[in-house]
């Protein structure tokens, strides 16, 4: 379940927290997305979007872990 796609926040608007929306760029296309569940998100952040709702901010340093973990495995099993 739960197809969620990462996109970059270009603009944020909305008078109240409940109405907070972001213009998010996915590859070459843009869409307006609900940002109400990520009060700390800012322009330039990447967010994961599911069914028009942003559910998390992509932790960019953690994104590298998948590759550093691989290096660690490689070192212990030459």
């Amino acid at each position: 379940m739960c197809l969620a796609v990462p996109g970059e926040i270009l603009r944020i608007e909305g008078a109240t927290p409940l109405e907070k929306m972001a213009q998010v760029k996915f590859g070459v296309i843009e869409k307006s997305i609900c940002l109400a569940f990520l009060p700390q998100a800012k322009v330039g952040d990447y967010v994961l979007v599911h069914a028009g709702i942003a559910i998390s901010i992509v932790q960019q340093d953690e994104a590298q872990r998948i590759f550093t973990y691989l290096d660690e495995i490689g070192e212990s099993n030459p």
């Binding site: 739960c2 569940f37 495995i73 099993n77």
Partner: protein, 361 residues
């Protein structure tokens, strides 16, 4: 696309599969809970890359598959009403009820509309004040915040013509039900990264401890699944049993609090029937009495429905990992994606569909 393409890197995929081959010393049965994981595994041909002693089982993590037959029939009854605009995710359109499906209702003249987001229903309701707009709110925990938001925004906008037909299901009770079954063969789980993005890790820590099984929460790209499998097998080989987070770029230990808050405000925990499995206590969410005015079940006062599930369908056993799709007598014969008999052949994530389309074994 950034944060997508990197996790499909062929060289890294090769290295992870080599590492798994080097690590594993015996057969293990691992269940991947989520339909999105199934889809990815099949789409990227990951099964071909894994050692044959890994028995990867597809679990009940497909909300389309497990939505109870009664709920589908209620949806069809509502969608057929002349004044209703029935909005749904595309996934639900071909799901067969006892006698029909949403696609057929649409063909017969019902106003059935596909929406990308639950919030799209707000403008539909605003533009059609004299019609009753109903959203089919199915899904696991990932989709619940959006559905709850729909209700809150409808309340805020003073909309009186917007309703939700809710059939949310929860993952941890399903894992509990699978592990409590005396016929269970599953030794470890790959849990759903987007569900945990909302709910956090706590429930999985508890499950791992209670049932002494490794549970690794993973993302959905090939590298996520392979790293998750590696971490899972490592635990199994070492005899450890705890919950681990592979998907750290999205899942925080505490999950998403604002999302959890809105869910708690709008929904309450209920027992839910899972198609093919049966009722699991405390395994679903329904609308709280406070928001009754938006509850489609309350508004339309639907009668109890007699349902009719074909007897040859073994999707319950497939969903629990007890049987593989090709072990079903109807598989590929009376039951195909074009005319599915049950839950797991209906959705594009269903285990039976995945096997039919991509492997045909």
């Amino acid at each position: 696309m950034k944060f997508v393409d990197e996790f499909r890197d062929a060289q890294a995929v090769r290295k992870y599969t080599e590492a798994i081959h080097n690590l594993i010393t015996q057969s293990w049965t691992i269940m991947e809970i989520c339909g999105g994981q199934t889809h990815s595994i099949v789409r990227f041909g990951i099964l071909d890359l894994l050692p044959s002693c890994i028995n990867l089982v597809h679990g009940p993590g497909c909300p389309v598959c497990v939505t109870p037959l009664e709920t589908i029939d209620k949806a069809l009854a509502i969608a057929a009403k002349p004044n209703v605009i029935f909005c749904s995710f595309g996934d639900m359109l071909r799901v067969p009820g006892s006698y029909s499906d949403l696609q057929s209702i649409r063909a017969a003249g019902g106003d059935v509309r596909i929406v990308y987001s639950p919030l799209d229903c707000l403008s539909i309701a605003e533009k059609n004040p004299e019609r009753e707009v109903v959203f089919f709110a199915i899904g696991f925990e990932t989709t619940a915040p959006g559905n709850a938001m729909l209700v809150k925004r409808a309340e805020q906008l003073g909309l009186r013509n917007l309703f939700v037909l809710v059939s949310h299901v929860l993952v941890p009770p399903a894992i509990g039900a699978i592990l409590s079954s005396p016929q269970n063969k599953v030794q470890a789980f790959l849990a759903a990264g987007h569900v945990c993005t909302i709910m956090g890790m706590q429930e999985y820590d508890d499950l791992a401890k209670k049932y002494q099984v490794p549970i690794v929460v993973t993302g959905f790209e090939p590298l996520d699944i392979l790293q998750g499998l590696y971490m899972c097998i490592k635990q199994l080989e070492q005899g450890s049993a705890h919950a681990e987070n592979q998907y750290t770029r999205s899942v925080l230990e505490q999950g998403n609090h604002p999302a959890q808050q809105i869910i708690a405000e709008v929904f309450q925990v209920l027992p839910r029937k899972w198609r093919g499995i049966g009722e699991i206590p405390q395994s679903g969410w329904g609308v709280r009495e406070k928001y009754q005015a938006f509850d489609a079940e309350y508004h339309f006062r639907l009668e109890a429905i007699q349902v009719n599930e074909p007897s040859q369908c073994i999707s319950g056993q497939v969903l629990r990992g007890l049987k593989k799709p090709y072990e079903c007598a109807a598989f590929g014969a009376q039951c195909t994606p074009d005319h599915p008999l049950g839950a797991t052949m209906v959705s594009s994530e269903g285990a039976c569909t995945a096997y039919y389309k991509y492997r045909r074994e």
